[in-house]
Structures are given as structure tokens and as C-alpha cells.
Symmetry: C2
Subunit: 179 residues, 2 copies
DNA sequence: GTATTTTATTGACACGGTATCAATTAAACA
DNA sequence: TGTTTAATTGATACCGTGTCAATAAAATAC
């Protein structure tokens, strides 16, 4: 019995995901994206695609899962060495991760499912931040959801505009907004 | 020479737009939307579609233009009878318009072009609001773009969650956030 | 290292939607 | 009422999808 994954499968799935990401990064019109195009970019046969994915949405979903896994790892690190000054260093890690993958996230955030999951992560950050502020006697005067939605709006705009501020500078604006 | 528009054209274009909107409102999967489906819903022939639109994107764009035209009209009214208390009554009109057409806007805001145009309208509102505050000596401490992006994030979330607050209540939260 | 198993490739297929056309029917206009 | 314009109809070539059986290539087991 094959306990380990066949290296061909691992390679094939990696190539398809890389192909999708590279096409997305090039601003390839998402509504015109075909399995053909993805397979060509991956330098694999079209039929091979269907051995691993139901359709493009399926590939997209699996790719999203991996990206968010990465984001989670990044945030985990940020929590552990927390010498935070104003409870916002998780937010900075979050923004730095988006900054590094701006082209990808800019497109991905159009996807409703993806955005909902990013929202959930942001909400966690806000709740954590909110707890920190509560201890200092400076609670938010609006629901955490509204704070998170607000931050997501700012991040989306920031990516659309080509990240005009550094992650740190943007974080300051966001924190400033909630003084 | 035909100075006036042929009533058949007017009727046909209206039917196609109504068909698109009704399908969108029903949460019809946008990526699977076909010209066939739209023509059937409009009770018109598929070939007739191509007499008026290049493709679905074209129909979408023309429909977006009309919706935003309506939004502009709404806001124009709000400015004229402005007995504003805190400079935010344009914002309330904006939210009321979105509230009335929540199902449609919720889907439309996924469209990048549409969102950019709504952002521009919001930015106008924020600038107007900002001027008002400046006179009172309470300027925003962040760029207007960031305020607008923040509001758009909140509105997007509000629509996705099925408008859990009334337009007035939400406006209060937003204004509160910028105290 | 050879045999066995699993994956990838190839070429073929039916299906459905696209975009366009010429011919015909129906409606609007003058 | 005659002329113009729009809508319908049926046909067409084209392209992407999803699946399949046969074959080639690579990985694993012995």
C-alpha cells in the first residue's frame, strides 16, 4: 500500500497551481480562463487536469486553501514573538503577507468565498486587538465585525491602488482610525 | 430621419436588462450565465441579443451605467434639501439606495469596474463630509481615500450579511467610527 | 533489475454555448 | 399604404468541456 504520495501527483498538482497563479498574476481575464490555457501553461495534458480537479473552480478552491494556510502560518509566528506596542503587530504581519503577494491577493479578493475567509481571519485579529484595548480601557464603540469589514475595505483599496503605502504606514492609518 | 428611438429597441433593451437583473437577484451563478438563459428569461430570441450587445459583459456594463445613473439622481436629491445635522445625510441617502436594491448591489459589487465607480461616488461623499467637518475644526486624521475605502468595506459586509442594520443605524456606526 | 502498479499522454467523441448569416415575418413611421 | 427598420427563424462553423479506451512512462515492490 502506498502510504506516501506518488511524486508525480505532487508535481502535477504543484504545476497546475503554479500555472493558475501565474495566469492570475498576469491579470488574465478570469471569466475567459480555460482548462486548455491552464494546462498549456502547466505544460501538462488537458486530460491530466481532470484526473485531479473537477473543474477550474475546484482548482481555485484548493489553491485558495494553500494560500490561506500560508497566511495562517505567518500569523502564528506573529503571535508568538509578540512584543506589541499597541496590540496591532498581528495586523502588521497580515499586511506584510498581503504586500508580498499583492498581485495575487488583489485578484483573489474578488472571489466571494476567498474574501469571506480573509474576513474571518481579520475578525480574529480584531477580536484579539479588541481584548487588548479593553484591558487598557479603550474599547471600540462599534461591533468587531464592522471594524473588520472596515479594515478589509482599506486593504482591498490598498491592493487595487498598487500598495501606495508601506505595510507599517498603512497599519498606522488603520490604528489611527480607531483611536 | 428617425430622431426618436424606435420603441421596439427601447422595449427590447429594457427586457434584456430586466432579465439580467432578475437572474442576478435570484443568485444565478454568474460564471454560468449564458446568452441563451438571458434571452429565454427576456422572452426574446437569442439572435436579437446580438443586435444590441456584443456579449454579456457589454449588457452588464450598460446595465451598470443605468443603475449608477439612478444612484446619482438619488444623491442629487439628498444634497438639495440638505438640513444636515452632522454632514452625513448624503451618506444616509446612499445607504438607503443600497438597502432598497440590496440583492442587486451585493452581486454587482463583486465586479471590479462597478466597485471602482461606487468608490468614486463614495469618495465624493467623503470629501463633501470632510469639508463640512473642516469648518467645524474636526478634520479626519487619515486621507479621504482611506475613509471611503473603509466605508465601502463596511457597506460590502453589510450587504453580504443581508443588511443586518437599518441604513440610519449603520450610518451612525460609520459616523461614530470617525468621531 | 524486473514485474507490477499507478499516473500521464494521446486521440477521439458527443455535447452545449458562441457569434454570425440570409431569408422571412412583424412592427413602426411618414 | 408603402417603405423602412427590427425581430425571428433555421443554419452554420467554431471552440471549450468532460469523458473514455488505449498506450506510454514513471514509481514502487519484490
Amino acid at each position: 500500500m502506498s502510504r506516501k504520495i506518488d511524486p508525480r501527483i505532487k508535481r502535477t498538482k504543484r504545476l497546475f497551481k503554479e500555472a493558475l497563479i501565474s495566469l492570475i498574476q498576469e491579470n488574465y481575464d478570469k471569466s475567459k480562463l480555460t482548462v486548455q490555457t491552464i494546462a498549456e501553461r502547466a505544460e501538462l495534458n488537458r486530460a491530466t487536469f481532470y484526473l485531479h480537479y473537477r473543474d477550474i473552480d475546484d482548482l481555485m478552491e484548493q489553491t485558495i486553501n494553500e494560500i490561506l494556510e500560508e497566511l495562517h502560518e505567518t500569523l502564528k509566528g506573529a503571535t508568538e514573538d509578540a512584543h506589541f506596542t499597541n496590540g496591532s503587530n498581528r495586523l502588521v504581519s497580515f499586511l506584510e503577507h498581503f504586500y508580498r503577494n499583492a498581485g495575487l491577493y488583489n485578484v483573489m479578493l474578488e472571489n466571494k468565498d476567498f474574501r469571506k475567509r480573509v474576513f474571518a481571519i481579520l475578525l480574529d485579529i480584531v477580536i484579539y486587538w479588541s481584548e487588548y484595548r479593553k484591558k487598557k480601557g479603550r474599547s471600540f464603540n462599534v461591533p468587531n465585525e464592522i471594524v473588520a469589514a472596515s479594515v478589509l475595505g482599506i486593504v482591498t483599496w490598498w491592493l487595487e491602488e498598487g500598495t501606495p503605502y508601506s505595510p507599517n504606514y498603512l497599519a498606522n492609518f488603520i490604528v489611527e482610525r480607531f483611536k
